[in-house]
Symmetry: C2
């Protein structure tokens, strides 16, 4: 599934609620999901981890819907097959 298609599905499913909840509340929910992902990773619980990854990308798409940003376009604009810092693939940045 395309990133854009997933974001559109989230809009169809949740935009009526996301838009009422608003930007701040949706951002806080995304943060909660990130923390739950961390807990699932700490517990090495593969099934829970998979579900939390799904929730994080879902809430990220919901947040993008609220501010009218196309997540796929944003992702490809910055990461177009090369590292945006060193311009190489694989990345050769020195840290």
């Amino acid at each position: 599934m395309h990133i854009r298609g997933f974001q559109e599905m989230m809009k169809q499913l949740y935009f009526h609620r996301d838009s009422k909840r608003g930007l701040k509340g949706t951002y806080e929910w995304l943060m909660d999901e990130i923390e739950e992902l961390g807990e699932a990773l700490d517990a090495s619980d593969k099934e829970a981890t998979e579900k939390e990854f799904a929730d994080v990308i879902a809430w990220l798409a919901s947040l993008a819907n609220i501010v009218g940003i196309d997540l796929e376009n944003a992702a490809i604009k910055k990461y177009n097959g090369k590292c945006p810092k060193c311009n190489h693939s694989p990345c050769q940045c020195k840290f």
Copy 2:
């Protein structure tokens, strides 16, 4: 671009570094990116917000690569066109 294709691009670009940094360090970096997204949203800076959305999905894909989870498969398994809680589209959950 498919979610899977984006995740594969991240693997090609960054897996050699992500795998050295490890799970904990990569999760912390994802958390930093979420905070930077929050700052860009607070500042209503559309260009910065777009770049931070790109960084969040990029680091989410990197984290999924480290634990060997297919982000697209995880997303579709949970969100398959209906709300996973109420089974409706649009979601009709009561809160």
